[in-house]
């Protein structure tokens, strides 16, 4: 009885990913989808979303949320465009953008840590602020970045692996390590389950909450640069709905909005799934509306599967508990 197959959320996600790849491989003529450069390229288009989903996983693990990410990204990208146009220095522009992202993130973090207002509401407020900051800086213009950024943003290593994907992979590895091996990761899960108990363990939980919002800000700025590197420009409507897209990746990755449960790994696989889905449907000539429909369906199927696993896990652990107590 003990040797029951242990199915995890991530296994389900992985199966979904494989099924989608096979499905598109068969449906799209001439096996174009199986072409390595197409397949590897699927995720690079949304790498900037994946980058934002990594710290978002941390925030949602602590039972928080950040709705401001879309416009935080846009505002940071706008800072880059403006500074770059003025100084014509890529380095200065990038540093300015990352610093701006850090500052915006710190604003979120300090508000969440110091007030008793839920991050849901704090970031709703700052979302509007960041949108208008974008407008203050850029006006109604769109700024295009220099060729250097575009060259890098659309470039590939060895002619096959897109730079965007490389950056996503590096970030993923860093966040994966933090999640599974660091004290921070341990504390994040614990805060999501029971913040009081973490504080009563002598851990500065408020500082950690502030820190993850700062991380979010920096990663949003990085995402903004990646976005500029492939889309040429940003304007003040760019970040619209991006917060929902990022949250979707995290939730599809099996992280519970109730906090405590989830993994960076799940978010990463979810990013791959969305990448495959978007590219596959585009290659089949489907419109965005079809994509939305299928995305919704995949999300719901995954969530039902997670819920089923959760119930199964609870029953199993209940059983073990009773057994342990009666021993």
């Amino acid at each position: 009885m003990k040797k029951k197959l242990h199915i995890s959320n991530n296994m389900i996600l992985f199966v979904i990913l494989i099924l989608l790849i096979i499905l598109f491989g068969v449906l799209i003529p001439d096996g174009i989808f199986f072409n390595p450069s197409v397949l590897i390229g699927t995720t690079s288009d949304i790498a900037y979303l994946g980058i934002m989903a990594l710290p978002m996983t941390f925030i949602i693990l602590t039972a928080g949320i950040d709705l401001s990410v879309g416009f935080l990204m846009t505002a940071s990208a706008m800072v880059f465009s403006k500074v770059f146009t003025m100084t014509e220095s890529l380095t200065v522009g990038i540093i300015a953008a990352l610093a701006a992202g850090m500052l915006f993130g710190f604003l979120n973090g300090i508000l969440v840590a110091k007030t008793k207002i839920h991050s849901w509401l704090v970031s709703l407020g700052t979302m509007y602020i960041f949108q208008s900051v974008t407008w203050f800086i850029g006006g109604s213009h769109s700024y295009a970045p220099g060729n250097a950024l575009i060259d890098f943003g659309t470039g590939k290593i060895a002619g096959i692996i897109p730079n965007q994907l490389i950056i996503l992979l590096i970030c993923f590895l860093i966040f994966e390590l933090l999640d599974t091996k660091s004290t921070l990761g341990r504390y994040l899960h614990a805060i999501g389950h029971n913040e009081s108990a973490v504080i009563y363990s002598g851990v500065n939980a408020k500082m950690i909450q502030c820190l993850i919002f700062v991380m979010m800000g920096v990663m949003c700025a990085l995402a903004g640069l990646m976005f500029l590197g492939k889309s040429w420009e940003v304007n003040q409507t760019t970040g619209l709905n991006m917060n929902i897209e990022v949250i979707t990746l995290v939730v599809l990755g099996g992280t519970s909005v109730a906090g405590g449960v989830g993994s960076v790994r799940g978010t990463f696989i979810a990013t791959l799934i969305i990448g495959v889905l978007k590219k596959g449907l585009a290659l089949m000539g489907m419109s965005g509306d079809v994509y939305n429909f299928i995305l919704g369906a995949v999300l719901i199927v995954a969530l039902i599967a997670f819920a089923y696993l959760e119930v199964r896990k609870r029953l199993a652990s209940r059983e073990m508990a009773v057994k342990n107590m009666n021993e």
């Binding site: 009885m1 390590l177 933090l178 091996k181 660091s182 004290t183 921070l184 341990r186 504390y187 899960h189 614990a190 389950h193 029971n194 009081s196 108990a197 973490v198 504080i199 009563y200 363990s201 002598g202 851990v203 500065n204 405590g260 449960v261 652990s317 209940r318 059983e319 073990m320 508990a321 009773v322 057994k323 342990n324 107590m325 009666n326 021993e327």
Partner: protein, 496 residues
């Protein structure tokens, strides 16, 4: 007297476990019948079988000599059996009256439409309130605005709206103050006089001896024996519950006391604490007595830096000390173990390992990354030292019994190498067997030279374990007693 309810040969299994194994119990008309057993002995399962929440796999149940089956809770109510839950089942945003008749509201038809019959409700409620002698609860009050004791009264009143003649109490006094307990017992006496039969689950021995007529002891899902309360002693009951002789209940070891480890002078916190001074010596167990809310927990939280904005002269380990944060206190070896295990003590959905090292993670990490080998070593040592009963260190804390959870909590504190340990209600909600074990652990720690402050509302425990007792009342120190001068009366006098 005649037997009103009788259960025999009751079996109930859950996947992998026998929760009830040939269980039996007999309740007589108008008696107060206590049911005792350790946590996990099957008390709650038995009550759930009686009230139809669970269906027994096998066995017979007789009501007034007639064989009955109870398929679901509503069946039980229909037969006059009602349970007063440990945590009340009332809807907090509804009124007292609405709650009392929830699910079986009297109705009257007006033009073919069924309407709530408030007149009938008030009439019935009046009768019940008079019967119970309740005068201070208004029908229109929202449940949320009532205290724990009043909620319990409403719960009893609700049971009576079903014309219940068998009432089951599941640890009703767990959350009550002494005064509230007295008034609950008066109500119980009243119910008894009216011929209502009651089953009463409780951990508190002194209560059982005070109000019960008979007691049934169960262990590991099996029936042990039933006895008249006048014919047993507390020691005997406990021995039946744990299945062995317990030996000394409070295994206090005499320890040669050393130098003072902590000296606190004039601890003040506006509105909470006033001019509190005391000392703890090496190897000493200092008891803190007082009512809930007297300020004992606040003293501990000030010392540990968990509470701010206070003034005091504190000397710890020979130097002046004031913790800015709890981390400061942990670094110095001053550890606080909270009374609220599930809220402040442990992250219950996480594993034993993750909980034990929560406050020392910074010590067993290289840079920002956890040294897993070191962590495993630490956890295994303390699990073994304290005898935590679990399959492995990755077992989820939520699935442990209360006693084992408490051991994990103590282990978490010991991991931090304390010089002074503050234990706040260390045996609350823990069954007798585990309680004795925790006392033994505490006693051994003191013997090894650890200084301990023990805050407890359990008077026998406090007097049994402490070298000295400080009494706190309304944020002020009202007395201090040496072990040779201990008397329950005197402590109570100073605390009340």
């Amino acid at each position: 007297m005649s037997t009103i309810l009788k259960l025999e040969h009751i079996y109930k299994s859950f996947p992998g476990v026998k929760a009830l194994d040939d269980m039996q119990i007999e309740l007589e008309q108008g008696e107060m019948h206590a049911v005792c057993g350790e946590n996990g002995a099957g008390k709650s399962t038995l009550m759930k079988v009686i009230t139809g929440v669970y269906k027994a796999d096998n066995g017979n149940m007789y009501l007034n000599g007639e064989k009955i089956t109870v398929k679901e809770p509503n069946d039980a109510y229909g037969k006059g059996i009602a349970i007063i839950f440990q945590e009340t089942s009332l809807f907090k945003d509804l009124t007292v009256l609405e709650n009392m008749f929830m699910g079986h509201e009297p109705v009257k038809s007006i033009c073919g439409i069924k309407n709530l019959d408030y007149a009938a409700m008030y009439k019935k409620a009046d009768e019940i309130f008079e019967f119970l002698g309740i005068t201070d609860i208004s029908y229109d009050e929202k449940i949320d605005n009532l205290g724990v004791a009043a909620k319990q009264m409403v719960e009893i009143a609700k049971a009576l709206t079903y014309d219940a003649n068998i009432l089951i109490f599941d640890e009703p006094t767990a959350a009550l103050t002494n005064k509230e307990v007295r008034s609950l017992f008066e109500t119980i006496a009243r119910l008894k006089k009216q011929g209502i039969s009651m089953l009463y689950i409780s951990h508190r021995m002194e209560e059982i001896f005070e109000i019960a007529d008979r007691v049934t002891v169960i262990r590991d899902g099996s029936y042990v024996r039933t006895a008249n309360i006048g014919e047993v002693t507390e020691q005997q009951l406990i021995a039946w519950m744990v299945g062995r002789e317990m030996g000394d209940l409070y295994p206090k070891v005499e320890v040669e006391l050393g130098e003072p480890v902590l000296k606190v002078k004039n601890l003040n916190k506006p509105g909470l604490l006033e001019d509190i001074s005391f000392e703890v010596r090496k190897g000493e167990i200092l008891g803190f007595a007082g009512l809930a809310g007297a300020g004992r927990t606040e003293i501990a939280e000030c010392l540990c830096g968990l509470m701010k904005h206070y003034s005091a002269d504190i000397e710890f380990m020979g130097k002046s000390f004031k913790a800015k944060s709890y981390r400061d206190a942990i670094k110095e070896g001053l550890i606080y173990v909270s009374e609220d295990r599930k809220k402040y003590g442990l992250v219950v959905p996480m594993s034993i390992k993750e909980n034990m090292t929560m406050s020392i993670l910074y010590r067993i990490s290289k840079g920002s990354f956890i040294d897993f080998a070191e962590e495993d070593k630490t956890v295994e040592k303390y699990m073994k030292d304290l005898g935590v009963k679990a399959p492995d260190k990755d077992f989820v804390v939520d699935n442990l019994s209360g006693g084992n959870q408490q051991k994990v909590l103590v282990a978490k504190a010991l991991c931090a190498n304390p010089s002074l340990l503050i234990l706040d209600e260390p045996t609350r909600g823990v069954d007798v067997g585990a309680k004795a074990e925790i006392h033994r652990i505490v006693s051994n720690l003191a013997k090894e030279g650890l200084s301990i402050i023990m805050i407890s509302s359990d008077m026998p425990e406090l007097l049994g374990m402490s070298d000295r007792v400080v009494v706190i009342k309304n944020g002020k120190k009202t007395g201090e007693l040496e072990r040779k001068d201990f008397s329950q009366e005197q402590v109570l006098e100073m605390a009340l």
